[in-house]
Structures are given as C-alpha cells and as structure tokens.
Symmetry: C2
Subunit: 286 residues, 2 copies
Amino acid sequence: MHELELLKSIYASASQSSDITIGPGDDMGELQIGSERILCAIDHLILGRHVTSKAPPASIGRKAIARCFSDIAAMAAHPIGSLMTACIPSDMSNDWCEQVFDGAKIVAEQWGGPIFGGDIASCNEAPPIFTVTAFATPPKRGAILRTGAEVGDYICVTGELGNSQEAHHLTFTPRIEEAQKLLQVLGEDLHSMIDISDGLGQDASHLASDTVQLVVEKNSIPLRAGATIQGALREGEDYELLFTSKTIPPSHLATVIGSVCIRKPSNPAVITSDGVDISSYGWSHT
Amino acid sequence: MHELELLKSIYASASQSSDITIGPGDDMGELQIGSERILCAIDHLILGRHVTSKAPPASIGRKAIARCFSDIAAMAAHPIGSLMTACIPSDMSNDWCEQVFDGAKIVAEQWGGPIFGGDIASCNEAPPIFTVTAFATPPKRGAILRTGAEVGDYICVTGELGNSQEAHHLTFTPRIEEAQKLLQVLGEDLHSMIDISDGLGQDASHLASDTVQLVVEKNSIPLRAGATIQGALREGEDYELLFTSKTIPPSHLATVIGSVCIRKPSNPAVITSDGVDISSYGWSHT
C-alpha cells in the first residue's frame, strides 16, 4: 500500500462544509465555530516504528506530543489543548504506561496544550500505539499554510538538519515560539510553511505548486553534528520549520537554503541547484 | 491491566487550564476559545474487538463514526466535524481501506460532522485500528454532563436495549436528534446524560455520585427483539441515551426505568429494585 497515495485519495474527497475553513492537505485542519477558528491535527506514534521499544517511556510520551505540536508550529498557531489515546497490549505494565503519559503531560502543559481527555484500549495483537490530537488557535492574520510560496521567495529553515536519530528525535522542542517570532519579524512576507518530519525533499515538495518550483542550495543546509548533506535531504524527523519568505529572516532565527522559481510543466517540484530532483527524498510511507 | 482504572489514574491527573471547561471523565472534553466553546471526543475502533473482520468494510467505517458521534448525542451537542485515522497492515487492500473510509464519510457528512483530516500509518504487527475525533458545539444552556442527577429524578432510556450484537451495533444511528428533542421538551429538568456503550449497569454508575444512587426497575427496561433482561443490563453496544430527568419525558422519546435515590456511604452506585448491585455489569475493560 502506498500510504501517501491512499491518504490523498481518501482525504481529497473528504466532505467539505462551510464550517471547515482548512480541509485535508495541510499540517492542520481548521473549523469555524461562531466567530472563532480552531485548528486540529492528529498523529500516530507506533512503538517499533516512530520510536524503539528501548526508548525511555517518558521520552516516548514526550515525542508523541512533540511531533503533533510540531504541526501547530508549522501553522504559526497557539496550542490550547490535546487529547491522547493508547492501544496497549496487556503485557505492558501500568507503570510503563503511566510513565509514557507522564512524559506526555509534562510537555503538553509546558507548551500550552494540556491533555484533557482520551481513550485507552487494550489490544494484544498490536504494539503500543498512541495518538495525539492537538488543538490550537490561529494567529490573527490566519494560519500559515503550505500553499502560498511565490516566485522570488527565499526558502528558509530553522535550526539544523540531519542525524536526528542520534538523539534529536526524542528531545526536540516543537518550534512554536520560533514560528511566532518569524511571524512577528516577517509579517505578510512569510508566505508558506511546513515542518520537516518526512525529509527535506518530500516536505519541500508540499510547498511547491504547478507554477512554483523550489531550488535548494544543498551546501547551504545547516547540518546537525554528525549529519551529512545526503542525510539532511532524506532522513526527516528534524521537526524544524521550512518556510518561504519574500524577505530574508534574521540569521539567528533561520537560514536561507534556496529560492522559489518559476515551474514549467516538465519540472520537478524540488531540485538542488545542480539539477537533481529531490522531490521524493525522505521517509518512505509505503 | 485494568483499563478503566488506568484511564482514571492517567486522565484524573491531567493538567487543567482556564481554557479547559470540561476535563476528563465525561463523554466529551470541552475547550473555551474566545467567546465560543467546542466539545471533542476520541474513540478507537479495533478490528477483531469492536467489529469482526467479516463485517462489511463500509459498516466498519460507519461504526467508527457512529460510536464516537454517540458521545456527541450524550452531551446533547451539535456535530461540526471529525478527524479519522487508520493504522493498517500492508496486506489489507487499498480497496478495503477506501470502503471503510467511504462508509465513514457518508454518515459523518449525513450527521453534520464531515471528516476534514486524519493520519494513516501502516503497521504490520497490528490489526486495522481506526480512531475518530469528533467535534461538536454545546447547546446554549451548556453540554449535558454525566454529573447532575438529583434525588427524585426519573432514570430514562431511549430506544431498546440488549442483543445489539445481532445487528444493531453495525447499523445504529447516534441519538443526536433525540437528544435535541429531549432538551427541547425537558429543558432544565434534563439533569444528566450518558450513552450506553459498555453496559447499562456500568454506564448508569457514571451518573451516580457519593450522594445519589440509581435504582433500576429491571422489568421496565425496553428490550430489543431477542434480548433478555440480563443481556440488557450487561451487554452494552446499545448506543442509546441514559439520562435522569426531574419530569417524565414523552413516551415516544424515552422510557422510565427507575429513579434516583439518596445514597448512603455503604450503598452501591446502581442497584436493581430487588437490591442487586449492578454497578459493574457490562463490558470488561480488562
């Protein structure tokens, strides 16, 4: 099964209503409720896939919250709460499970989106699976979408990329504050944004469109200790913000790694400046 | 693992904030956003547990939505949207998966809460697992909570109970409209409400408190064709509304099955009128 294809097919045909102001295909969906808007995202964390079973339980819970809250950062939104569920085999101890939830609760509260409900099911045929639903309010100008990149924009990234497996993926803090600072400094010049979870190439492709192509200068990518350029392009799990902006952000907030160009029908969505198509570089969802 | 105990322990200590107007322990949680309130619930549906693998895929998707939307009915709330996720082994066909989602999408839209996002993960070590997050707006007087039963209230139930496994659990419609009618007719007399998913005894116990006990006249329970009284007390999966009201509702909307009495410290939460403690009658979460 090609997960991304299936996902597209399923959610692309999802019903629309006037209450749904951002539908499937962005980092979060958005609902209009009376005069207010609320953003929602949901993410799985599967033991053995997104974390190894040897990871400290508190860090598993932490990551479950962090990866979902990274979607909040990607919309430049403000966390307000979260739901967390678990499917747990009966041979996992209550103690292990409580440590996972404790790890989750600490950061959920710290980052402004305390856990206020959930559901627990026992399932002996599966590894432990957690889901987090995160809720957030958009900034006044509206959530920053994946769409919106314009020809001439700078492609920018917060922090450093690559070698996340070494430790970063269990300890990162979602770039919620950084997103607010970027919004404050760049204002309307901040055109589009996503968080890097699957890999720079793949995630950058979501900022491209039929008319704009992203050209990445791979030597300008800020590398985490121990990372390689090839790893930084492909590995994912960075949970840094990738965005396009009409103006260059302050260097302490982000690094320019390329520019948005005109895309012709035959052009790939994302290339390096030496012409390599990196649109599909990243975690395989198959 | 005693799931309910674990769940209580985990969510009872969940962080509170001024934005969380209904915390863990009710059918849905509630967030305050500006001048508006939004209710949220999340539910698992595990193949082989909540439905057999032989169930038609569209009816599996339908049930995933229906059981979560039953929580909306239990708060007398109005659906506005939903998120649906899947963990799917790679040997399940795309066709099967799309049929599940199609079955879900049809009813989600029909009932006013269209699916506007989600997440799909492949997981070969697990049976197919779906989660639905449902969003709703409360009625003007506020959501109807589990707490609120008063001594002298009538205990009432919509529809019929028991023998749900025969077919009802795959075909039921959440009592969203009925809840609205009850609210309209009973007004402030509608004191507390829950939907019956785990079993009448267990679910009734959630309407009890330290000071009120529920006394059920078992012979007055409306039985579904093929159901027994013992089954109706224990089997669950009815997804009918159980509520307490100061006044008797019209008989076409609900049936009176008991009354709320004073509870002494040594009294069980729920008994039959012949004195049997049925507080734990229902689906075992262990």
